[in-house]
Symmetry: C2
Subunit: 130 residues, 2 copies
Amino acid sequence: MSYSIAEAARRSGLSIDTLRYYERIHLLDPPERDAAGRRAYSEADLTWLQFLTKLRTTGMPIRRMREYASLRKRGVASAARRRTILIEQRGSVAERIAELQSCLDVLDYKITNYEQLEQGYSSAVREVTA
Amino acid sequence: MSYSIAEAARRSGLSIDTLRYYERIHLLDPPERDAAGRRAYSEADLTWLQFLTKLRTTGMPIRRMREYASLRKRGVASAARRRTILIEQRGSVAERIAELQSCLDVLDYKITNYEQLEQGYSSAVREVTA
DNA sequence: GTACGACCTGGAGCGCGCTCCAGGTCAACA
DNA sequence: TGTTGACCTGGAGCGCGCTCCAGGTCGTAC
């Protein structure tokens, strides 16, 4: 089973342009081509794309994804290095979550203030007009 | 008490250039100037900068921060609208946290696999070489 | 009085991650 | 046979959020 670029885009959630772009920058190996020279993405290509989008969502820069991609081509020998990259990324995601949590607290505090203002608590005015 | 731009940068964690940039794009009202025409940031300026950096950390685009900033200048009348913006942002932060959590799960799964590989579980090879 | 360092301005430049475009090929269908 | 539509290529362009630069002004220290 293989997929046209449109189908691969639909399934991966990336745009057609982005798929070609990822190939150009060696994030994705060139997929097979059909008789007419059109890209035919394999199941494995899609799995890899899915993982790439996860990495992207974590905020991993493309340059780092490329490093990971190139290590992957070197097979099992590169497993330790790849693991290190993932562990680092896990750390940075955890940090980011903590950071967002703290922002969430600030937002909650502010929102509460606005609500108190709405309810006529004059003590909230100081905060809201600050 | 007022602060030089260098001091304000140090305290806010933003660069000097960024402070001037924020002023230029009306995220920050022009601070007072000292006798020599140099910026003199007030305590209130710093408080606002601190809040701005929180918003930025949540991923709020600058255009939206500008909207918030301009509402703030309109005083209490704009409080409801500002509250709405913050509530929306809280929602998007919560979503983002959830998304990151799910990425964390994927990373953990992958990392576990790499560790099993290291320990000689051949069943992990399939995953790692995929 | 001159050297220094912090600050000023307007404007150009940059890195990132796409996104769009022109001009072309090809297979399928009316 | 002609038109459509999906796909191709190489390369330019874009929006974001800064970041850097040249050339200038001030106040202080020697």
